[in-house]
Amino acid sequence: MNRRAVLAFGLFGATAALLGVGLTLDPRELPSPLIGRSAPAFALPLLQQPDKISSHREMLGTVWILNVWASWCISCREEHAALSALARSGAAPVIGLNYKDERDQALAWLERFGDPYALSLHDRDGRLGMDYGVHGVPETFIIDRKGVIRYKRVGILTQDIVRDRILPLVRELQRA
């Protein structure tokens, strides 16, 4: 085999390897600039009690999980089992952020699939979602006692992610 062929094969192999790695990456997984920053402030009505306003201040002192969901979000159904198990474990309160949804449809969804949330905020116009940099529902955040965002996941939660990432981090933050 001459040198030129070796070079061509080498180049081909290198390119294929590079593209191969690219295929395994998820372009939706963007580094969030929000990690390590204070969670955005909010005062939003509760989904179940529209006349009651909930604020981010009520969560100070608690490690909590924020899950962004909507009745129109098909993947939210996919993560529902893992999320429900996480909520049932009682590791930390799971707050729902009902994003750009109609109240009656959101309530019907919870009725149909089960309500894993300690409470659900109703972000009708998606304003708070924008402050959280939401771009692909479902998204999940972990917020520490001081109200700082420590973790962000775009896309569905699985049992593996809950076990390997969420629960260890929640416990660590609760000890701190």
Partner: protein, 129 residues
């Protein structure tokens, strides 16, 4: 006839509304050209009609109306969505390869080409493969 009239009226109203402030609209669109649609990643906000893109354009309009500068609007977006939202990412360590990459590739290509030309011009290098 009356129906047609109300149609025309409604159309004129939408037209009037969207042309309400042409300078503001120009600024909104100029910013939207600089920003990436996060749902359809290879489009600018200006090109996209995805729900989030429309929301973000409306937010840009609001921020400009509140008197925010172009710089402040871009900062608002970067704070929430990261550098990725900018179509022209800033030069940082994380993006150095992105900026230098094309020039490195060009240099490699040119030097390879020159090496090949030199080899071709020397008679003893001639061989039948």
């Amino acid at each position: 006839m009356r129906r047609l009239f109300s149609f025309v009226l409604a159309f004129a109203a939408t037209l009037a509304f969207s042309q309400e402030d042409p300078i503001l609209e120009k600024r909104v669109m100029a910013l939207a050209e600089e920003l990436r649609c996060l749902v359809c990643q290879n489009q600018t906000l200006a090109d996209s009609h995805a729900a989030l893109a429309v929301d973000l354009k409306n937010r840009i309009r609001e921020l400009l109306r509140e008197g925010k500068t172009e710089r402040e609007v871009l900062d608002f977006m970067v704070q929430r969505y990261g550098d990725f939202v900018l179509y022209r990412p800033p030069l940082r360590t994380a993006t150095a390869l992105l900026w230098a990459g094309p020039f490195i590739l060009l240099a490699l290509g040119v030097s390879g080409w020159i090496a090949w030309l030199r080899k071709r011009n020397t008679p003893e290098a001639e061989e039948i493969s």
